[in-house]
Assembly symmetry: none
Homo-oligomer: 235 residues x 2
DNA sequence: TCGCATCTTGACACCTTCTTGATGGCAGCC
DNA sequence: GGCTGCCATCAAGAAGGTGTCAAGATGCGA
């Protein structure tokens, strides 16, 4: 069960502080993208939109506050400023520029984590009811949030493994997924699992999904390679 | 024509600090309601819902953190804690209890005002969506403000944990909530809790809510994943 | 201090799900 | 034809999740 943690963009030029935060945050399950300069941060923020930004002021190539202001122009991602500047005017400027919180160095890790939780809480609340993750492949509808699958309006009741299997294939509809990939994504990076097990679960999934499991409409076998979910456009 | 500023509930027992904040805030156009005790604050919060709460910890009649937690049970109003306690553990506890920010005394007025602006900014963004103190799912009615539940007109009396559990599921009616989510939302981000405990509380909640706990109408089990509250539209 | 409500933990039975092994089909190749 | 590799299906035991009961711990108000 590897739920991917929130993605944090860390904008910080001191290597020491970066190393420290990297260790702390990855240990807590956060995924991390790092940037040493504002230029790099701009690219990272657009190419891989984070769930939260940890922003150090006083970077080599410009003021972090301007970066925060530009970010606010197009996204509501929580911005948490970490700065050595403790002057009140600095805090006010950053907060009014769009930052959501301001922590002065040196700071306690637990406090930082707690404030990050607050920021993520706010973001989650704002986003709720907006994005409904829904996969649709022809008559096959997969609602990720509700964990429901339906073919031609008929609801299925997949077991946990069948669900993971189906979502994996549906997310890559049309592409071939190798046995190896399936084992890694569904069963985790550990070993000791066999391709045979995949076949058994595929069979039970077909029994639920297909009208004629012997002549699959959706779950196609790629002999010697793996499996593939038929795309909507396929014949 | 003086536009009415945001309504601030100030919970603070020191007369000196109250006088100071009253002067500062009214000068900036805020309207103010003051409370010296938690009991008074509870009444004020319900009778005159504020736009923001300034909460001092260490009040004469109880812990301000509990007040914050109760408040969070039915409203999303921003809570800004002002405290003389500067210990990190205190901050973490308050923030995890639902506070949105934590300022230690002595503080700068400008910083406080900036943080209040941030909080109000968040609230304004969140309120553009919804703010429903009454959840209705079929014959199930949940009054968040009054902390009351009723099925088919019959009132339930849930324990604190059962209440949190039910509200969590009702807020996400139809969606599956994983065991992990339940533990995090109901018991807090700390660890050391087991899914077994969830099952026990779910059982007792079913006993109160369902006519036949063995054949649940509302509280559905998603094997291997979590639980789900049936939507009104479901069969 | 006692009693009450609540929460946690352990034990156990029940059931679903998962894994593994066995068997047969099918195609390609010697 | 016989062999080999790959796949699908079935069946049975193993493993793990779920619901329930009950005992002990904890906290709170009388």
């Amino acid at each position: 069960m590897s739920e991917a943690g929130p993605l944090v963009l860390l904008v910080e030029d001191e290597p020491q502080m970066r190393r420290f935060l990297r260790a702390t945050l990855t240990a807590r399950g956060f995924r991390l993208v790092e940037a040493e300069t504002i230029a790099a941060a701009e690219i990272a923020a657009t190419s891989q939109p984070p769930d939260l930004v940890l922003l150090d002021l006083g970077l080599p190539d410009g003021d972090g506050i301007d970066f925060a202001r530009r970010l606010r122009g197009w996204t509501q991602v929580p911005i948490l400023v970490i700065s050595a500047r403790g002057r009140e005017a600095d805090k006010v400027e950053a907060l009014d520029a769009g930052a959501d919180d301001y922590v002065t160095k040196p700071f306690g890790v637990d406090e930082l984590l707690a404030r990050m939780r607050v920021a993520l809480r706010h973001a989650a609340r704002a986003q709720s009811g907006v994005a409904e993750p829904l996969l649709e492949i022809g008559a096959l509808r997969i609602d990720l949030a509700r964990r429901e699958v339906a073919v031609d309006g008929r609801a299925l009741h997949p077991t946990p493994i069948e669900w993971k299997l189906l979502v994996l294939l549906a997310r890559n509809a049309g592409k071939v997924i190798t046995h190896r990939q399936i084992l890694r994504e569904v069963w985790g990076p550990g070993e000791g699992h066999q391709t045979h097990t995949v076949r058994v679960h595929m069979a039970s999934l077909r029994k639920k999904l297909e009208t004629d499991p012997a002549q699959p409409r959706w779950l196609l076998t790629e002999p010697g390679v793996g499996y593939r979910l038929r795309e909507a456009s396929d014949a």
